[in-house]
């Protein structure tokens, strides 16, 4: 049964990919039938700019993924395992930055880091007399910083359940042998978190390779060209989905190489089993004076991840226009005009409502399917299941527009076209890799002895899955649900081609203003959107005691 479910999910994922792959063998623009040929691939592999662009892409994606995943893992360890003061605050602070979409971070950090007009360089000049332009948003470092911040949530949400469900006997053995707490952390705890860490890193790396907003907004002005712009140019300038797919195939190759290393690194999965059949409580470690440093680190991330960009957006949404002098005059020049404009937008409520309903459903279905596929790979002995490891991650190698073209071609002419189902399947395919990688990173940490005990007693797969695997995975399920819900509710890229006329999806208001570059109105919309989400998360946490992996 898990195999059948996984195969259906795998088929749903692979079909649009096969469709666009097929198209890569036709070199004509959309609307022009030129027959099958290899011209697209000939173009891709004779493109002299491909190597410098790929090299920029790899530096950017690996840099951001490393920064984000390491920071996320560190935050997860601090929250789960240390005696850092202000427990309630420390648990909440890493959570809020997840709510801020990357494009909002981009705009806010451009305003902060722009060389001549940025807030930080302006302050250095005004208050410290430093004339040198220290910060530059339009540089590789600027890109890595902003996208790296956007990578932290995955690292945090993937690692937190691992640190929370750790069999302490592994660490206790080290203590008995005379190891100090920090040494134990470095030698025992962190190595055991490797599968989840690599899972998050792989996802963040692939997200970085195909991400477009940061390279467009921050890379292009700094003359940093990334590979994915070739994919978008194929679509935007040549209207040639086949060529776009041929370029995407290079990303697929990179993904396969990345996954190969992941599978190799975690091939002896029993080594990483930290959740065993023994009863235990996770031990909090006294890190001495370091606890103030860890509090500071969490607070600094909170500042950079949401508070500072949020304040920038609030000010920008209330001043007549942004430049450094006008920014610094706030609040004497505050006006609320942009808020009235946003509230009057015809789709403010409908778009939000539609996406709310769909993203809740998609988050639940995707997470369940992801766990099922991970369960099939690591807990059944069926032939060829390792193939799922690749299929389940594949959608991340395709830029959203290319992926949604495949879905449109499949659905066109069927009753599903222009229906909510098509949109739902599109979102499922797009977010499956997150659910799947999250589950596969966590399932490796569960010792097989728990399943084996059930099998020995004659349990069927459903008993093992629903009574053992799913309850143990509860913390990571919570995190994945939360992440996919937050991402799906603001999805524009995959949804756009699958949305029927007259049906708005997503917080149209907010993203429309970002897309057309009305930053002040976009900031106002962003502030309203964030306030709604922050209130919702805080209520869920405090009033309904909901746990987000905590």
């Amino acid at each position: 049964m898990p195999l059948v479910a996984s195969t259906i999910a795998g088929a749903a994922i692979i079909t649009p990919i096969l469709v666009v792959f097929w198209r890569s063998f036709t070199s004509g623009r959309l609307g022009f039938d030129v027959g099958l040929n290899l011209a697209n691939y000939a173009r891709v592999f004779s493109d002299k700019d491909i190597m410098p662009m790929l090299s920029n892409s790899v530096i950017y994606a690996a840099g951001a993924a490393l920064l984000g995943t390491v920071l996320g893992a560190l935050l997860a360890w601090i929250v789960a395992r240390t005696n850092t003061p202000g427990k309630a605050l420390v648990e909440l602070m890493p959570l809020y930055p997840i709510l801020m979409p990357t494009i909002m971070k981009n705009i806010a950090w451009i305003l902060l880091l722009a060389p001549k007009s940025g807030i930080l360089n302006g302050m250095l000049q005004q208050f410290l007399g430093i004339e040198t332009l220290v910060f530059n948003a339009f540089s590789m470092a600027g890109m890595i910083w902003v996208f790296g911040l956007a990578c932290v949530p995955l690292g945090y949400l993937f690692l937190l359940p691992v640190f929370l469900s750790f069999d302490p006997s592994l660490e206790e053995s080290a203590y008995i042998a005379g190891s100090k707490p920090m040494h134990t952390m470095l030698k025992i705890t962190f190595p055991l978190a490797v599968p989840a860490f690599l899972s998050a890193f792989v996802l963040n790396f692939l997200r970085g390779l195909r991400s477009f907003e940061t390279p467009v907004l921050q890379g292009t002005p700094g003359n940093i060209k990334v590979f994915v712009s070739r994919v978008y140019d194929s679509m935007a300038l040549e209207f040639n989905t086949g060529l776009a797919t041929s370029y995407s195939v290079v990303l697929v190759v990179l993904s396969v190489i990345t996954l190969y290393f992941y599978v190799r690194a975690t091939r002896f999965s029993e080594r990483y089993a930290t959740i065993t059949g023994k009863g235990y409580r996770v031990r909090v470690i006294d890190i001495g004076r370091w606890k103030y440093m860890t509090f500071l680190l969490v607070f600094l991330y909170f500042l950079a991840g949401i508070l500072i960009p949020f304040i920038v957006l609030i000010v920008v949404s209330m001043i007549p226009y942004y430049d450094y002098d006008t920014f610094m005059k706030f609040p004497s020049n505050a006006v609320l005009t942009n808020y009235f404009i946003v509230m009057k937008h015809p789709s403010f409520v409908t778009g939000l409502y539609n996406s709310l309903v769909l993203s809740v459903s998609i988050a639940v279905i995707t997470v369940l399917a992801g766990i099922t596929m991970a369960f099939t790979i690591y807990r059944t002995r069926a032939w060829g299941t390792k193939l799922f490891e690749f299929i389940g991650t594949l959608p991340l190698a395709f830029p959203p527009l290319v992926l949604s073209v495949g879905l449109v071609i499949i659905f066109i002419g069927t009753p599903l076209y222009n229906s909510l189902w098509a949109l739902g399947i599109g979102l499922f395919v797009a977010y499956f890799p997150y659910a799947f990688r999250n589950a596969s990173g966590s399932i490796v940490n569960i010792h097989k002895e728990l399943d084996e005990a059930a099998w020995v007693h004659g349990a069927k797969w459903r008993h093992v899955f629903f009574k053992i695997t799913l309850p143990i995975l509860k913390p990571s399920v919570g995190g994945a649900l939360f992440y996919i819900f937050i991402e799906a509710i603001r999805n524009v890229d995959v949804a756009v081609l699958l949305t029927a006329p007259g049906k708005e999806y997503g917080p149209v208001t907010l993203f429309e203003y970002f897309r057309v570059g009305q930053w002040a109105e976009a900031a106002a919309g962003g502030v309203i959107y964030l306030i709604i989400l922050i209130v919702a998360v805080s209520m869920a946490k405090f009033a309904f005691k909901m746990k987000f992996s905590l």
Binding site: P115, P221, M235, H345, T380, V496, E512
Partner: protein
């Protein structure tokens, strides 16, 4: 064994499903075979006469356009009412589409108008995929770059507006309902009007190095359309090459987002944005933002058109919508959302006459190859100089 076969069956089903989808798509191409044209250039030359422009309006033209609109409206409305629906695909803001479709429905009761909004690449992709799939899925594509590209693939039903005499830019197969007007804008806190370049060509002067940001000339965006306009107007390859080489030699930041570049100019990051859109500049000037534009420099005019889809299920409603958009009432609605009028007799703050003065020269973009295959145009005329 069972598990092996389950996987094999499901994956084969998936492949089969994919092949069926592709076969259906290909069949669609064959069905539409008469319309889907293999050679865009030959097709364009065959069916599309050159765009024409009429800068000056006249009272006679206004009166005859009004009469022609009333007549065509009376003819089309009963048929449109029978059709009952209108679906518009557009790049315009949802906020604007809502105002426009509401006004249309109010003017013509009994017709339900809905819309889908996407960016130009998304519109072209969706329209041509639906066209290939033989789908009668929508009626009008309302956009700037998309309609000529769709026309080149055979996806547009040619329609000539009856109000052509009042249009600044007229295309006999695609009704022009609005214009994208580019202006040479500068930050007044960073630069005095006297210091600003007096023409597009002067922007390439080395003295502006470090002050300017450029829209990416290698994408189908405002700067490349300006280049297409200048190339046609100058008809002088040496001058064109000198201008483009001069721009390149400035070695200034290049943006793929014109709006982000404009915001950064306002912020003081740049003195000049090359180019900016007139309606953005006007809106900011109205709010008191320190931005202005060079009034003596010919504005670039790029058509925004309402193309009728070749497989439109409601063709009469589509024609009525296009005609209504060009009518005085339609143009007032378009103006009310801050978009520029397509007519030479329409008075508003973004009209050529009020923004640039009576009899101002303009720079229209009429190059057919650029409009229909921007990639080919850029590869031929810009790439060798820009990337050479």
């Amino acid at each position: 064994m069972l598990t092996k076969s389950t996987m094999a069956v499901a994956l084969s089903a998936s492949i089969l499903f994919g092949s069926v989808a592709l076969a259906a798509e290909k069949a669609g191409v064959k069905d539409a075979g008469k319309e889907a044209i293999k050679d865009p250039k030959a097709a364009a030359q065959k069916v599309i006469p050159q765009q024409v422009r009429k800068e000056a309006g006249s009272a006679n033209a206004t009166a005859s356009a009004k009469k022609a609109f009333e007549k065509v409206s009376q003819e089309l409305y009963p048929k449109a009412k029978q059709e009952g629906n209108l679906i518009v695909y557009s790049v315009w803001d949802v906020e604007h589409l809502r105002v426009i479709t509401d006004a249309f429905m109010k003017r013509y009761p009994g017709i339900k108008a809905t819309y889908w909004q996407g960016r130009n690449p998304e519109i072209v992709t969706r329209v041509l995929t639906e066209f290939q799939g033989g789908q009668a899925s929508f009626d009008v594509v309302l956009s700037d770059n998309a309609p000529p590209v769709i026309r080149a693939a055979g996806g547009i039903m040619p329609y000539e507006t009856v109000q052509k005499d009042v249009l600044l830019l007229h295309d006999p197969t695609l009704p022009t309902v609005s214009l994208q007007i580019q202006a040479l804008a500068f930050n007044t806190k960073k630069m005095k009007p006297a210091e600003a370049p007096k023409s597009w060509e002067e922007v390439a002067n080395p003295k502006y190095k470090g002050m300017i940001a450029l829209d990416d000339p290698m994408r189908a965006g405002p700067l490349s359309s300006m280049l297409a306009g200048l190339k046609t107007q100058w008809n002088d390859d040496g001058r064109f090459k000198k201008f483009l080489t001069g721009l390149k030699a400035l070695n200034v930041p290049v943006h793929k987002s014109t709006s982000a570049m404009f915001r950064l100019m306002i912020s003081g990051e740049y003195n000049i944005a090359m180019p900016a859109l007139l309606h953005d500049v006007m809106e900011e000037m109205h709010k008191g933002t320190p931005v202005s534009y060079v009034k003596t420099n010919p504005p670039v005019l790029f058509p925004r058109q309402a193309g009728i889809y070749a497989k439109s299920p409601n063709p009469n409603t589509a024609k009525l919508f296009a005609e209504w958009l060009i009518s005085e009432e339609g143009q007032k609605t378009i103006d009310s959302v801050g978009r520029e009028s397509a007519r030479n007799d329409f008075k508003s703050k973004t009209s050529i006459e009020s923004a640039f003065g009576k009899g101002a020269k303009t720079l229209p973009v009429t190059d057919k190859l650029f409009l229909e295959d921007p990639k080919k145009w850029l590869d031929t005329f810009v790439k060798p100089i820009w990337e050479g």
